[in-house]
């Protein structure tokens, strides 16, 4: 799945924290109060929002003026998706990290359990 850049993440944080939909202007105001040092142009916010829309993170309500934006998933769902990717196994990723205990077949798990309980004498 797609990941978020730093600015995208900040925008998503505001959307996740909002009750409902926000316009780009409202969003920018909340962003400014969130990190007062950075002043963002509305056009920048709009660019980020359309990128987030393309990535499937944000829905845009075009029927109202100005357009309203809201997050597609909740923050918890997004975290769960990321966690799923981190913990899931793909051959490519298996090459990138070294697990303490790698893939375990059910039979082997059974053997390990037997070893643990000491019911099997070897």
């Amino acid at each position: 799945m797609a990941t978020l850049g730093e600015l995208e993440r900040t925008v998503m944080d505001v959307l996740w924290g909002a009750d409902g939909s926000l316009s780009a202007n409202e969003l920018r105001d909340r962003l400014d109060s969130a990190n007062g040092a950075k002043e963002l142009a509305v056009t920048t916010v709009l660019t980020v929002l359309s990128r987030l829309e393309n990535k499937g993170f944000v829905e845009r309500d075009r029927s109202s003026r100005p357009h309203l934006y809201r997050s597609v998933t909740t923050r918890a769902e997004h975290t769960a998706d990321l966690m799923h990717e981190v913990l899931g196994s793909a051959p490519d990723r298996e090459a990138a990290l070294a697990r303490f205990v790698g893939q375990v077949s059910p039979e082997e798990a059974e053997t390990l359990r037997a070893l643990l309980s000491g019911t099997r004498n070897s």
Binding site: M83, V86, S89, Q103, V104, A109, E110
Partner: protein, 312 residues
């Protein structure tokens, strides 16, 4: 030069088939994993060297009496666009094959490195988002997830050991110390580089069953090496219990089925069991004289094809 090429071909065949089979079945590697790892690397390198070297020597026969002379002559003909009068089709075919094989192996290595580096970077950024540092253990982070997981992410600039909340609940303090020592050993000894090399060899030759066997054998040896470091931090039984707990717990946890089931077809039987058995019934390490013999053999494996290539 023809004789040398035949000898190299015979060596390549021996190293490609019977030798890895025998080594994969042998019992002594568990008693000297580090030495066995050196031998595996030497077999793989010498095998590739003799295979390509044999083809090159055979192909260069019409160009000159030895590799250097033939090589120079070959380059001269290449630029002139000519062939020596006694060159035949099979020799040119051998040269093409050597070039293709070399390119294929190098490209596969490059691809494997780039791909795993990309995966590693992405994984690291996700882990940084999802985890918190573990107090008192620099370079260790904890994922908030109930299934017991432990792994390390080796990086070029910084490496991370990742544990899960599930692991922290499952293991007691000394078992946890064993896990961290095991992962730190992987990082300190740069095991991922060896694994990467064998992985790339396997992906370059997917139809070659020995490559698969070698990759598995090397993976087990690397784990045993890390276990040997970890048993210094605790005792054998604590480490064995930790492995068995994580192994059996990870396989039964309904919360993260993909963790163990996704690659069901690829599960190699008995990757974890031998590690536990080895810790529970410790055997004497291989004697230093036997280890010296193995290291000598590993050196000879590399020297022989080199000598055959350059000096004959």
């Amino acid at each position: 030069m023809f004789t040398a090429s035949v000898v190299l071909a015979a060596l390549a065949l021996t190293l490609a088939w019977p030798v890895p089979l025998i080594l994969a079945r042998a019992a002594w590697p568990a008693r000297a994993p580090g030495t066995a790892l050196v031998l595996w690397q030497s077999i793989a390198l010498a095998g590739g060297l003799s295979m390509i070297g044999s083809l090159v020597l055979y192909g260069l026969i019409p160009f000159g009496g030895n590799l250097i002379e033939g090589g120079f002559e070959f380059v001269r003909h290449l630029f002139a666009g000519t062939l020596p009068p006694d060159a035949n089709f099979s020799q040119m075919f051998a040269l093409c094959l050597a070039a293709l094989l070399t390119g294929h192996l190098l490209l596969s290595l490059l691809l494997t490195v780039v791909r795993s580096e990309k995966q590693r970077a992405r994984h690291l950024s996700l882990v940084n988002l999802l985890s918190a540092p573990l107090e008192g253990n620099p370079g260790t982070r904890v994922l908030d997830h109930p299934s017991p997981v432990a792994y390390c992410l080796p990086g070029t600039t910084s490496s991370v050991t990742v544990l899960s909340e599930g692991l922290l609940t499952l293991l007691d303090e000394s078992q946890l110390r064993a896990v961290i020592a095991h992962e730190n050993a992987h990082l300190a000894q740069q095991h991922h580089l060896v694994l990467l090399a064998f992985k790339s060899w396997h992906s370059a030759l997917p139809w070659f069953p020995i490559a698969n066997r070698a990759e598995t054998a090397v993976a087990v040896l690397v784990e045993m090496l890390a276990d040997d470091q970890a048993r210094r931090a605790t005792d054998d039984r604590t480490l064995a219990t930790a492995i068995a707990l994580v192994g059996s717990g990870a396989a039964t946890d309904p919360g993260a089925p993909e963790l163990t089931w996704a690659n069901r077809g690829e599960i190699e039987p008995g990757l974890v069991g031998p590690r536990v058995v080895r810790l529970l019934n410790p055997q004497h390490p291989l004697s230093s004289s036997a280890r010296a013999v193995v290291l000598l053999a590993a050196t000879a494996l590399l020297v022989i094809p080199t000598v055959l290539l350059v000096l004959i």
